[in-house]
Point group: C2
Chain length 634, copies 2
């Protein structure tokens, strides 16, 4: 009651007493409500500027006759420079040159100074300016300034009129926490790193405006996915990650095993120590011997100094024995005898893998309870390096009972998997435009200025549906165009074919269906012609004809779907045709044996969808911790 | 335009022309809107009843003088029996005895009959009665009756007044699809299987009312999770499943590897065949030899019969050679030479594992961009069989920057991870009561009649927060209670201790914090006393004191959380104390080196939460495809 502390405004239910910058900077009414309030904000320093006080020789921006400078006064006198800073720092492209100018070597704060820090907390693209008087810094002022420093500060929010813009800043009254930076080691303190260099620091790169923006867009797309399917009555089912069933028959798989023993510490033997050369028996004998010495000295009662030395010696030997014993337990795998690699001894008693696709498991749920979807990680041990593929990617899979591919059956209004795929895809495009306006503005400015227009266009346009046969006909008739892969009926469509169709011919997304049976998995419904299967793909264009983008987002197929084979006999034959072991599909065949139902579904390659909505061109830039051949370092 | 077909009412945007049973049976206005309409419904037969037409000897339920029986007439005359059927079939506990009576051997339908099928489509707990006249059946009537048969039927929805209840049924006009059942093999056609037998059929068990109800509750809890965190500004981050970092240092891990080669077909050699005993060289030589014979016969021109035999022989030998070659390629792993097991040759170039916990990776995002959560599968290669643990389980993990454990710091209103964990837990309890009323009614009736009351109580009551030290004091003072594990400060609290606290002492959920440092992972913040760490657990009671449940849900700890160590030096020391390899944590230490922030978080064992809300007692009954030691068969 008698506290003199100012009332600190809480962020409702944020489970911390800080207010997020988004609340301050982005919410339309946030500014009004919070200006004048005392709040706590936290974040990491993007850059800073120092203004020395009480010093006539402040030549650079001296305002003669200034006295008792207020923060506002300083700012007003420097609006042009100030605006430049704001534009550079809060906006996307802070050019290295300007950054260097703004980040001189950390000064020796001999005189009191005012520091203008731009901080960001990951809740939005913009930075908040925090004004700190050097006299209130709890540590050496130099320590709160470098890029990457964490600051938690309490102060009053002020509104400034800088030119036509209203700007909010926090006048710090207390610094509650400082997390310093080891500047020589901090990867982001050097000039702006390109995205591929940032991949070396997946744990720190979200501090860049780019990766934090991607993270927000990705999270928003995920919630959009759940919202769409839950709204239309689909149940989410978590399909197993560890599986014994090969869903596709096409991909390289990872083994999941406990046969390789414990290997946690054999990775880097840290120099050669006693433990490397002494055997466990020798060490245990030494322990016994030295225990005896200790006992003897204890019973003799005199020579306390010798006893202490002996006890210390015993302790060391004990520690050595323990270390050796532990190493024995976690022997390097190269020492595992081959006969241990019998899968009967493996955890599951037989070979098991990381799932390549959850569609078969998900389909079993569709064949029991109707419409279902799954969202989870899928794995391929593919060693080729590609901007569209890494070993671990997230996929949205959808399966629907009582659903056929309507376009093929000439059903008037096709309520089918194709329709659902198209609606879902459009829903994602629209949702991201509606729910991430600031981030979309940012990626438009920095990556691809056509992205917003492109997403809007995809949301509103209608997509042509053509059969594979029609696609081949269109492509064969193209004059003056030599495709690298010569087209004939039966070959898979390559990126250049898909690009021609979506970019040049239709100039919008296009759905291709009824593929040759050899290019699709065994479970896809065999059409009556005996040659094609009821598969479809949603292909997106990479160009925008209205504007010239800086980069082309090469995505091609973003959704792959199919009606699945409902006939037991046909499915059985196709498993044999694909030369797959029938035993592992017995459970799947049960669904055809017992109450089979026409069903269809699709999967969306979620990481490609993030590329599409951000304009980035490599999945390793949109996956938090990408795993690829030779790359899994955390 | 000239079509005589009735207008079929579509289910809006269900991507199939059927209407879900939930729309018909559960939505309050659905019934009103749809009665009298022609709709398509689909589902699987739960059971059926036959009523023969035009036959005076229909002794069982004969109504003398009946003529031109309508469906309604039959039903009205049999209301008591009909009600019994409805109660048994649509409700939870169809006792085996009654089911047998209702499911006689499939009859020979010599005379036209009317069949009353109860079908369910997984959208709700209730069944819809479909009335089918034997004359419209597209296949032998016997084939559409057995349990598990899939039916897609078009007809008119009728409303019946049976006693005080309004009942909806579909009078079928067309049968659009029938998926028959191999009755002798169908696992669910036998009398009601207990849950542990159902585990053998994870792909079919969702057809039971119990498992479909669990699936709906699970899916609803998932959406509740996303809704809660997105509402409060948390970003979802997909942490990696494949990792090189040991997050806990406690658990057994699965290796992820490509060192074991291809093993897709060596699993079960199906009997000994030629391919097992003939070498590839021999087979290839035989092919060459037999080709020569064929060529010779062809050139000689006569003896067509011999040529045919020779060609067939060649084909067989060719097939054999192909088979052997393929087996050679996919040689059992036991043939892999030990020197291949050098991790430099592995996919990632070093040992890599399935993640045990995503908290460290998630924390790195929290230390960059604030409040984040993750929802995904986590793995432990634990061979012990437990009702609360399998190898692959889903976990919700949450990390918050600028968040300390407030209760310890005496912050008046603790906006911290504990508060967030409690709010989230209560949100889930309330959400499931609000959004799954029918399923909750079902599990209350069949599993645990205290469940609804218990969830309501957990939603509204306030939870005590006590330190580990206080918990030990309470437990040591318990008179007349001999715990199996003798308590002294420093030992982990066991299930019996937790049960005493939550069930007997507090009689509601309780949060325990500040654990001895040895029982928690290395990354938990070391308190000032140097003995305890800032960890907490949310423990739920298994009993309901107001009612006597049929089963006890033994859950204990459902949420585990902590404030994490923000000091580089302390963290570094603790990694060494835990005898973990510092190299694998270098990236994690970066977060302390550069702009460290006080942060805290927690994880919810999602599968246990599903147990808590369904009243079931084994996670294998609530996980779609449970994986445990020796069990991964699909």
């Amino acid at each position: 009651m008698e506290s003199q502390e100012p009332k600190v405004t809480d962020s409702p239910l944020m489970y911390s007493n800080r207010v997020t910058l988004k609340t301050i900077l982005e919410s339309s009414d946030g500014k009004m409500v919070l200006v004048g309030e005392t709040v706590v904000v936290g974040g990491w320093v993007k850059c800073y500027k120092e203004v020395k006080k009480h010093r006539a020789s402040d030549t650079d921006h001296a305002s003669p006759g200034r006295q008792g400078l207020t923060c506002l006064g300083i700012l007003k006198s420097r609006i042009p420079r100030f605006r430049t800073i704001i534009r550079i720092l809060c906006g996307p492209a802070s050019s290295p040159a300007v950054r260097e100018e703004l980040e001189p070597l950390v000064p020796e704060p001999t005189l009191p100074s005012t520091f203008f820090l731009q901080i960001n907390d990951g809740s939005c693209t913009s930075c908040l300016q925090v004004v700190i008087d050097s006299t209130i810094a709890p540590v050496s002022v130099g320590q709160i300034l470098p890029t990457g420093t964490c600051i938690l500060a309490q102060g009053v929010l002020e509104e400034l009129s800088a030119n036509e813009k209203q700007i909010i800043q926090l006048k710090a009254e207390k610094i509650l926490h400082v997390g310093t930076v080891e500047q020589d080691k901090y990867p982001l303190s050097r000039e702006r790193l390109p995205l591929d260099s940032l991949r070396e620091y997946p744990h720190i790169r979200p501090r860049t405006t780019m990766v934090s923006s991607v993270t927000r867009i990705r999270s928003t797309l995920e919630f959009a996915t759940h919202t769409f399917f839950q709204k239309y009555g689909f149940l989410h089912v978590q399909v197993p990650i560890i599986t014994t069933t090969d869903t596709e028959g096409f991909s390289e798989k990872f083994h999941v095993t406990t046969l390789l023993g414990k290997t946690s510490k054999e990775k880097e033997p840290v120099g050669v120590s006693d433990a490397d050369v002494v055997s466990l028996e020798t060490a245990k004998a030494a322990v016994k011997e030295k225990s005896a010495v200790v006992e003897q000295l204890k019973s003799s009662g005199n020579n306390e100094e010798s006893l202490i030395v002996a006890v210390q010696d015993l302790q060391k030997t004990n520690e050595l024995a323990r270390l050796i014993e532990e190493r024995e337990k976690s022997k390097p795998v190269t020492a595992v005898k081959p006969d241990l690699l019998n899968f009967n001894d493996d955890f599951f008693g037989h070979p098991s893998y990381l799932t390549v696709s959850g569609r078969l498991h998900l389909e079993s749920y569709a064949c029991d309870i109707g419409n279902v979807y799954s969202f989870g990680p899928r794995f391929q041990a593919d060693k080729t390096v590609s901007s569209k593929h890494v070993a671990e990617m997230w996929t949205v899979e959808v399966e629907m009972a009582f659903s056929e591919l309507g376009v093929r059956l000439c059903i008037l209004k096709a309520h089918d998997a194709m329709e659902c795929a198209e609606d879902y895809f459009k829903f994602l495009c629209k949702w991201i435009l509606d729910n991430c306006p600031e981030d979309m503005k940012f990626v438009s400015k920095t990556i691809d200025n056509t992205i917003t227009h492109r997403l809007e266009y995809m949301t509103t346009s209608s997509y042509d549906k053509i059969s594979y046969g029609e696609a081949v006909e269109i492509l064969r008739k193209v004059p003056d165009k030599a495709f690298e892969t010569q087209l004939q009926w039966g070959v898979p469509l390559t990126a250049e074919h898909l690009s021609y169709l979506a970019d040049d011919h239709y100039k919008r997304p296009v759905i291709i269906y009824d593929y040759p049976k050899a290019v699709k998995p065994f479970y896809v419904h065999l059409n009556e012609d005996g040659k094609t299967v009821a598969a479809f793909e949603l292909v997106v264009p990479k160009k925008d004809y209205n504007r010239e983008p800086k980069l082309y987002v090469q995505i091609g197929t973003v959704i792959t779907g199919s009606q699945n084979e409902e006939s037991f006999n046909v499915l059985n034959t196709r498993i044999t045709e694909f030369d797959l072991s029938i035993d592992q599909y017995e459970w799947y065949l049960d669904l055809r044996r017992h109450g089979t139902v026409k069903n269809s579904g699709f999967s969306l390659r979620f990481d490609l969808m993030v590329l599409l909505t951000t304009g980035l061109i490599d999945v390793r830039d949109v996956i938090p911790f990408p795993r690829s051949h030779g790359k899994a370092n955390s």
